[in-house]
Symmetry: C2
Subunit: 225 residues, 2 copies
DNA sequence: GAAGGACAACTTGTCATGCAACCTGATAGC
DNA sequence: GCTATCAGGTTGCATGACAAGTTGTCCTTC
């Protein structure tokens, strides 16, 4: 019988998981500087080597970034998933978005709480007021994530925000197109209205129209084939 | 104007990316032992500390595993995505599956090539012949991934296989339920038939029925609330 | 007082060395 | 043939040292 080697924790692994936990729990907020290697060495009661190995691991995971002479800073609260790394066609990415977000709008319409509604409304108000395209893109992303959150299934917001981060570059370009902002705001309103009324079909339709408009804008309607 | 600090490569980062590349390219195959830290230290002309920091990073990414006294072994060719790590309710996972795979079946029906069809057929034949439940689960997973592949959108198979790996434990338990195997095979056949006939609606329906049956089996139909 | 430069203190990056713990295979003894 | 021992290789961890980058402070100078 083959004995499976028990993966017993090394000190470095222990420190790494502790650090990851501290970051993911928000104890170490994004942008914050971590304690220096020397301090961590004292805190964890291990040598600086171990701390450095753990720190390099956390860096590799994409959670932090170290700068010589300055320190190590939290870069993201959660490890960006490697799921969508690689070069995918914008068309394929949009298709995934469509496949996912249209039914999500319907689910959100059925399940949204009053809190969800308030959050979404607030985002849309900010969206209309905001002039800077790059900031508007961020609000837009938050709105779509908010819809996913309203489905009460925690997996959906993760998937949606993941997709958004991949599509971000294109989204910024699209947001800069003249007139697009007002159009987008109207489309968002339609989605929100349907969700507010708990009309699943209308929500799905509104989302479908919105995504089609976005894709049209991004793929430069001038040069169709 | 804010100057973005240029993330210049440290030696450890360089070694890490080299190792990752070697593993992903297959130069270091899964199961293979990596050169010892001392050897790598010579090869890369850096100290053992740097090698260790890089090695710990690759470990953290899930590509390798180190054992004291033995060496470091390649564990996976690609970093498993961290997207779905965490504790999610089976109900939520199944909902994601439903949301995703039902429309995928429709897309597959519209776009499948003859090659896709042959691959799927072969998998179903193997599925019926296989007695071992744990192996059957693997074939089942491959079948669902094959459907996603037939959509001609490379993102879908990645998403589906990711979901499957999370659901694997439950899937094995479900596959062991008496009679379930034959039922599952019939459901698979229905899906395949619809895809073969390019009937998108039928494919979506068949998939919907299949997933509902799976979820019923997994959630132990005895204890409904 | 304001501006600028020198300097000290702190930070990460890298190297070198030593030793403990662990695993494997060879070897000697029974 | 079987077992015990041992030697050599491997990773895990600690310590010390120095280079290089960053930042705040103090002091000089105007």
């Amino acid at each position: 019988m083959k004995v499976i080697p028990v993966a017993q924790r090394t000190a470095a692994e222990h420190v790494r998981s502790q650090l990851v936990e501290l970051i993911e729990s928000g104890e170490f907020a994004v942008g914050q500087r971590l304690p220096s290697e020397a301090e961590l060495s004292k805190s964890f009661a291990v040598s600086r080597s171990v701390i450095r190995e753990a720190l390099h691991s956390v860096n590799a995971l994409g959670l932090t970034r170290s700068y010589a002479g300055k320190g190590t800073f939290v870069d993201a609260q959660f490890a960006p998933s490697q799921l969508l790394t690689g070069k995918y066609l914008p068309r394929d990415l949009h298709e995934v978005r469509r496949t996912l977000e249209v039914p999500l709008a319907a689910l959100a319409a059925e399940r949204r709480s009053r809190t969800d509604l308030k959050a979404m409304t607030a985002l849309l108000v900010r969206f209309r007021d905001e002039q800077d395209p790059s900031i508007r893109v961020g609000i837009d992303a938050d709105f779509h994530v908010a819809i996913a959150t309203a489905t009460a299934n925690p997996l959906f917001p993760r998937l949606v925000s993941e997709l958004r981060s991949v599509l971000q570059e294109q989204a910024i370009a699209a947001a800069a197109v003249p007139g697009r902002a007002i159009q987008a705001a109207d489309e968002h309103d339609a989605i929100l209205a349907a969700i507010a009324e708990r009309d699943a079909n209308a929500a799905a339709n509104a989302m479908k129209l919105h995504l089609a408009a976005v894709e049209d804008t991004v793929t430069a309607p001038g040069r169709r084939k």
